[in-house]
């Protein structure tokens, strides 16, 4: 029953593609609508798989002999555990909505049929990827996904779209190559690409590799680092994030799928290989640094963009950074929870952003940005709410986490850093509310406070339950946190910096709201303005990419000219 259900999900997605692809042109609208039925059934199947896997345990289906994985180069097999089942449900659920939405959204497009087929095929590839039985199959679909992202740009006549699609493909290939290197090294070292065997052998045989003379690195670090670069590409981590803003010319539903499903591939990969990543503190620390950097840069760039799609794009980059940072802190299940929540949220927002753009084109005064009629002034209520939410609630969270949920905070650097990071980001969001003037009534403040409390508590309890669901063995969870522990001085520095930043931000805004002059040196003010310009221009990363590209091309042509005298 479970096996048939697992196999039926990708088959149903292929059937959907077949329905749209076959037949003449005339009744294609009807066929497009009918195509949604198999996708919906796949979603129901995924729910069934989730229920069955939760009660019966993971299922393994192999169409090959694991002993001869290298002679059968592409070993097709499925391994569905709770993590895969959750991903299956998320992807098929989001896909059903996106596909149905697309049938109307792309109604008058000349190539709507090709587009819908590609959506079905992308879903198929995603499903096969998250339920892969071994690293090789995962990589196979991982690569196909890179190419599908190129095709999904859709409007290949438009030069901007084409350039973005090419950039997407090439940058993802860079990451794919590192992934391939990781696979090769792991097979050379451990002799298998089967997940469970790989984890067992890696744990049983700690090894060191001499990468360069005098440079010895643990085998687990080498393998996980290369695989992590693969994850960085798909999850748009700095500096491989450039493809995501570049792909924004694609149709809106593609973004919904991209931001709700495809971009989560990196987080999924790290979770799928969690026991392997748990063996390398170095890789986890690198993930923490890269994730934090991406989160900070992504969020900052998001705040300075003036285009709705770019704003959402950089918001996703920031969130993905957050997710990778969570992985780097050993909170693997939290990252999965995060990617689900973010996927659902961002998918919805993207599906709606097309309407906003359309409305803005029709109504010159939309969206309303003019607040000139609002009275400027100091609202005690708003500030009290801000005080409570930024300074009191964090204390409550710490107490609840420590006392009620019995999470040993003092023994887990990762949890504390995540809580402090939540504090700093939520404070940033909450302090923005103080800019509201006339809407700062008690109703608004109360509803904000209650919503915030509700979300925080639900989030904490839900995450805790979700962790228990995904990783029933609590010792395993603790070992990941332990592996991700930072040096004490670094941990203290992060905590103190987070606290100081929040308190400083709060004080600064409070003083300004009271009309008091905050003395800031001129050079800081001018630096702030320059920084704004830099982030508005997305830290000139696109220009740098172009510069590197043109320099490389020049170099290549010089080498080519040098060789022309005797070659051929």
């Amino acid at each position: 029953m479970l096996v048939s259900l697992v196999l039926s999900i990708p088959v149903l997605l292929l059937i959907a593609a077949g329905i749209v692809m076959t037949g003449g042109k005339s009744p294609h609208v009807t066929r497009a609508k009918v195509g949604a039925v198999p996708i919906g059934l796949a979603f129901l199947g995924a729910i069934g798989v989730l229920v069955l896997v939760s009660s019966e345990g993971p299922v393994t289906i192999r169409f090959y002999d694991p002993a001869s994985v290298a002679s059968f180069i592409i070993p097709i097999g499925f391994y569905v555990d709770r993590l895969s089942a959750v991903m299956l449900t998320l992807i098929t659920g989001v896909s059903t909505v996106i596909y149905y939405y697309s049938t109307s959204y792309m109604f008058q497009d000349r190539h709507a049929r090709r587009y819908l087929v590609l959506i079905c095929l992308t879903d198929f590839v995603l499903i096969c990827m998250v339920s892969s039985g071994n690293l090789m199959m995962l990589f196979l679909f991982w690569q196909i996904l890179s190419y599908l992202l190129y095709l999904l740009a859709h409007n290949h006549v438009h030069p901007g779209t084409l350039a973005g699609a090419f950039k997407t493909f090439t940058l993802l290939r860079v990451a794919d190559t590192a992934f391939l290197g990781g696979i090769a090294v792991s097979y050379q070292l451990y002799g298998t690409l089967e997940f469970q065997e790989l984890f067992a052998r890696a744990a049983a045989r700690p090894m060191t590799l001499s990468i360069l003379p005098g440079l010895e690195v643990s085998a687990a670090t080498t393998v996980t680092f290369l695989l992590f670069i693969g994850a960085m590409g798909k999850s748009a981590q700095f500096p491989l994030h450039l493809w995501l803003p570049g792909s924004l010319f694609a149709p809106t539903p593609v973004h919904a799928l991209l931001h709700a499903g495809i971009i989560n591939a990196g987080g999924f990969l790290i979770n799928r290989l969690a026991p392997l990543f748990g063996l390398s503190s170095t890789t986890l620390h690198i993930a923490f640094v890269i994730g934090t950097l991406t989160a900070v840069l992504g969020a900052t760039m998001m705040l300075t963009q003036n285009d709705i799609k770019k704003t959402l794009g950089f918001s996703t980059i920031g969130q993905m950074g957050y997710m990778i940072m969570e992985c780097g802190l050993g909170a693997f299940s939290l990252a999965v929870f995060h990617l689900i929540a973010h996927g659902l949220f961002k998918g919805t927002v993207f599906l709606n952003c097309g309407n906003v753009i359309h409305k803005a084109r029709q109504e010159p005064h939309f969206p309303h940005t003019d607040h000139g009629d609002e009275k400027a002034g100091f609202s005690r209520l708003t500030w009290s709410t801000g005080f409570v939410t930024t300074l009191v609630i964090p204390l409550l969270i710490l107490l609840v986490t420590h006392g009620v949920l019995r999470i040993p905070l003092l023994e887990s650097h990762g949890t504390v850093i995540i809580l402090f990071f939540i504090w700093i980001t939520s404070s940033q969001a909450i302090l923005t509310l103080t800019r509201l003037r006339t809407v700062a009534s008690w109703k608004v403040s109360a509803s904000m406070l209650l919503t915030l409390l509700f979300i925080v508590f639900v989030y904490l309890f839900a995450v805790e339950s979700f962790t228990a669901f995904l990783y029933p063995n609590s010792e395993e969870v603790a070992s990941y946190f332990k592996a991700a522990d930072l040096a004490d001085w670094l941990f203290d520095l992060i905590v103190v910096t987070a606290a100081l930043m929040t308190i400083f931000g709060w004080t600064y805004l409070y003083m300004r709201a009271h009309g008091r002059t905050v003395r800031i040196p001129i050079w800081i003010e001018s630096f702030r303005i320059r920084l704004y310009t830099v982030f508005l221009n997305r830290i000139y990363a696109d220009e740098l990419y172009k510069l590197i590209g043109s320099m490389t091309t020049q170099l290549i042509h010089r080498i080519d000219k040098l060789d022309r005298g005797w070659s051929r």
């Binding site: 001869s68 190559t177 050379q188 045989r205 290549i556």
Partner: protein, 435 residues
């Protein structure tokens, strides 16, 4: 006796076909039919009787691939009296190629010498203002012939070294790659798509016998040359604006990666044959696809002048995209399978080498993708006359795609009766990766 008879059949049928071509020279259709049907008969015979032949080190795959290459190259060429020579010569090359693969100690090298000499004569006779005569290329083939002769009259290790020089000409390795590039760009009609498969496959076959007896010091030099050559091929391919040179240098890069793996393991396994065959087939397929463009828009067309074929020529677009994917090493095609198979089973001799090989593999995503994108996408041009694939062209490209798919999905045991030794051993102690 049976073996001899079967070998005679394998070699004789293409020559018989070539004779039929000569006999019906005035009838262009019959010449073409002969150029197509003889390789098909050869393939059927190989499928039926290959298991009775002694298994070669590099497996039986080359035997299967050569007739397929001959068929698709003939199919991809439109019917015209100018192409009769190319069709006839492809049958002669097929016969000589078969002879090299299954011939014994003397007959095999003799066939190879004849083949190279014919190529040299063709290169001497066929050149245009666009592709002038290349003495470097012809000279390179001369080195190949000298290598075969010396390997026959000397003892190892000199015979192995000279034999390897021939291999470097056939399975292109810098600085002996000029012959291969010249053949790919200058040979007439349907010969280039066939020759890019034939020469490397024959080169690998010779390498399979020569490599195990090579001195270690020499193998280390070959490894270094291979890495340099793979980067050189990739860089040159990135700089090309002419499609045939781009494909030529691109394949040199991939073949050099193959050299590196083979040098690392001292042997050419059937997996190496998968990579050689797949790269040859993919390059041949792309050359046929480019031939389709040349047929429609002229021999000296600049690829930059064409765009937007995807919407006007959908069949062509789909097949070219698939061929492009195969050529840049994306699964589930043969190039990926061959590359991956070698990567997993042949322990890399150095970390830096592994990363250079990966970089060369990655570079293909740029130059091939750029070429495919240039042709298929971009603005639709009203001044161009778009005509999608004709049936023979479609069949030819489809066969290449399906063959590449089969190479990617089929287990290696299908074309090698020998048990493939799995060289990968999970290491029990810390390993030293730098040499």
């Amino acid at each position: 006796m049976t073996e001899l008879l079967i070998s005679g059949l394998f070699v004789g049928i293409p020559f018989l076909g070539a004779l039929v071509c000569l006999a019906s020279w005035s009838d262009t259709y019959r010449v073409r039919m002969s150029a197509i049907s003889c390789p098909v008969i050869s393939l059927a015979l190989i499928v039926g009787f290959a298991n009775r032949l002694p298994d070669a080190i590099d497996g039986l795959l080359p035997l299967y691939l050569l007739p397929i290459g001959a068929v698709v190259s003939a199919l991809g060429q439109p019917v015209h009296q100018h192409h009769r020579l190319a069709w006839t010569m492809s049958l002669v090359f097929l016969g000589l190629g078969m002879g090299t693969l299954i011939g014994g100690h003397w007959f095999g090298p003799l066939c190879l010498i004849t083949l190279i000499l014919i190529v040299m004569v063709l290169l001497y006779r066929h050149h245009t203002t666009l592709w002038p005569i290349s003495w470097w290329g012809i000279g390179s083939f001369g080195v190949g012939v000298a290598g075969v002769i010396l390997s026959l009259v000397t003892e190892p290790p000199i015979s192995s070294v000279t034999s390897l020089a021939t291999c470097a000409v056939l399975l292109p390795l810098m600085p002996f790659h000029d012959g291969y590039l010249t053949a790919l760009t200058r040979l007439p009609g349907s010969l280039p798509p066939f020759i890019v498969l034939l020469l490397p496959v024959l080169g690998l076959h010779r390498m399979a016998t020569a490599m195990p007896t090579m001195p270690n010091e020499f193998v280390a030099i070959v490894s270094l040359l291979a890495l340099g050559s793979s980067l050189y091929g990739a860089i040159k391919a990135l700089a090309q604006s002419r499609v045939r040179l781009l494909l030529g240098y691109g394949s040199v890069s991939f073949f050099s990666i193959l050299w590196w793996f083979v040098a690392g393991t001292h042997t050419a396994t059937p997996r190496a044959a998968v990579l050689a065959g797949a790269v040859g087939l993919a390059t041949g397929g792309l050359l046929i696809a480019w031939q389709v463009i040349r047929t429609r828009y002229g021999d000296d067309i600049d690829p930059q002048a064409i765009s937007g074929l995807a919407s006007a020529m959908p069949k062509y677009a789909v097949l070219l995209s698939l061929l492009g994917l195969a050529a840049m090493g994306i699964p589930p095609f043969g190039v990926f399978a061959g590359f991956m198979g070698l990567l997993l089973t042949a322990p890399p001799s150095s970390t830096i080498g592994l990363f250079i090989a990966l970089a060369a593999w990655l570079a293909a995503s740029w130059y091939i993708m750029q070429m495919v994108q240039q042709l298929l996408f971009g603005a639709y041009r009203a001044d161009l006359r778009y005509a999608d694939l004709r049936h023979p062209e479609f069949t030819s490209l489809l066969i290449v795609v399906l063959a590449l798919l089969a190479l990617g999905l089929a287990p290696t045991s299908l074309y090698s009766s020998k048990e493939i030794p799995d060289r990968t051993v999970a290491m029990e102690r810390p390993v030293e990766w730098t040499r």
